[in-house]
Symmetry: D3
């Protein structure tokens, strides 16, 4: 394993999801090895490539996760998108557009999840959370 | 039907796919009514909304169509992406990132199609085509 | 937007889902614009086309939503199907047949949801609800 | 194996796909055992159940295969649908409706395949083929 | 229906899921006919074929259900896998490998479910349950 | 990048697909960076983990790629499976079983591809190819 690339991956995750939110699983979880590998391989080796900035990468994920119907993962990446500066209006436009590529059901489901996450994010901001 | 919104949709398609490429089907085709409707409702009513520019919308489609494995449609939207200014490098980054959300097979397939479309686009440019 | 087509769409939704059930979301929801558009475009412009009656269109949706595994949406369209006269026996046959096209898991999941919705519908009928 | 149910399945396939078209594979093919089993269990045990007639079952398959994007299988079931009396207009409506549940790309692809199959079927009829 | 093949199917299910766990649904459930059919057709006619042992068949199902994202069914087949001798380490490897074919989201979701099922299975064993 | 892990990945690919078949793309291909990364991270870091042998990993891939309907990739992994010692009978059983999890269409398609690849592999062996 490359420790350097792993550390770069963690740095990307902190920028995307927020300080302290880069480890979504407790230690010893069955998924830890996979997460360790993707931290290095995806966040460390792919997200750090030039050619696309982090906000654009985040928006692309929202599109993909919506049409794939991966709700849990979409929820986490919506949190990341809001943190990295994708606006609620942009989120709405992304998910609305996906209705025509992945079907209306996946877009409506995504918009329901986004409604919840945007509300939580706005509450946290109003409460003075650094988020 | 709203003729005005339909004309706006055709204008968007000309910007996205190029002049003269907004009608991909011969008249009388079984899919013509669906295409007429989507020209109006998707390209006319959704793509014209503020909040996302056309290049960003095009990039989001590449992400979605790659993970969905809709190859024919991906090919057409790759042509659109190149026409609207998405660079070959950006296309590569988008499809590469999708490997981790939709699986490596869909990304490799998408990159093979993109390789062909980028070569065709570069040839057309070299030949002085207005493309 | 075409107000006339939108009103036709709402009328179709009342026939399909029942009086007062055509608006599944509170006003101001992030999905409202998409719903407004699909009310007009799908229920207003497509469901009103001759060639297929509403009961047949409802049955086709059950087939599609089952193999797509869109459970929330399947539940709502099961309610619509029962309202528009698709019988519990027909629902069972549709979902059972889908096992062989979309896989047994999606059909079993659909049948579990249908079991719940049919029971709720029968209770409402027994209680004299106009449903 | 139940020989009786298998024969009933073959009879259903002759009604659906046409006389002499119930065996789509040469003997000894790797898929023969699966086909033998599905002839008995799907066409023999499921399609023969009361509750849905063959034309309705055929229409449901078009919906499911379109949103699943199983093109080869959709083509064969389009041939069956035309043979069992689903009209070209009904096929168009089914596939058009699916655009909103499975996405526009799957519906456009389905309509392209249907255009070809309807043309072939009309030619065969014009040539006096018993179809 | 073939009573003999059905009984063979139930015997396979007892071996796979455990004694008394071969009937996951109450009598009269809407899915009972489909389950009866699959007991005979899948567990009776397919799982009893030579060429693959039951443990291998169980592992293949984990792979397929993970990439399909059929969570409920994956959970039940994880229980079966543990019962039939697939080790927690093997389960982890199977699901981790799937990340690269079906995408990381489906693998992470599968590993979360597996974490729960392995913990429940270990508790039951510690408590002296015959499992 | 870790050169050592990359070399281990190439060694795994030679064992799986055959000597000289570890590089399926010409140099400079748009997919080369993704392939380089997966050679290292998937074949080098995942396939080399203890807990599952290469033949079992190959069989799991056949299951996953069949239900995902990724035909090109399935074809390549069928070649790998035959090379690594999965027998034609085992391939048939794997794909046949998948019919009930991913639907009959994906299994029939997979069996057609497998029929072709097994025939090619048998011809190559009869011709004395080391394959």
């Amino acid at each position: 394993m490359s420790e350097e690339r792993y550390q770069e991956g963690l740095a990307v995750k902190r920028r995307l999801f927020g300080e302290g939110k880069e480890h979504p699983l407790p230690p010893g979880h069955l998924a830890s090895d996979l997460l360790r590998l993707t931290d290095e391989m995806v966040f460390g080796a792919v997200y750090t490539r030039p050619g696309l900035d982090l906000k654009t990468r985040s928006m692309l994920n929202l599109a993909a996760l919506t049409v794939l119907g991966r709700d849990d993962y979409l929820r986490r990446h919506l949190q990341g998108a809001l943190h990295v500066g994708v606006t609620p209006e942009e989120i709405k436009e992304i998910l609305m557009q996906m209705a025509f590529y992945g079907g209306i059901p996946c877009a409506l489901k995504g918009l329901r999840i986004a409604q919840e996450e945007i509300a939580a994010w706005q509450s946290a901001r109003a409460a003075g959370s650094p988020s």
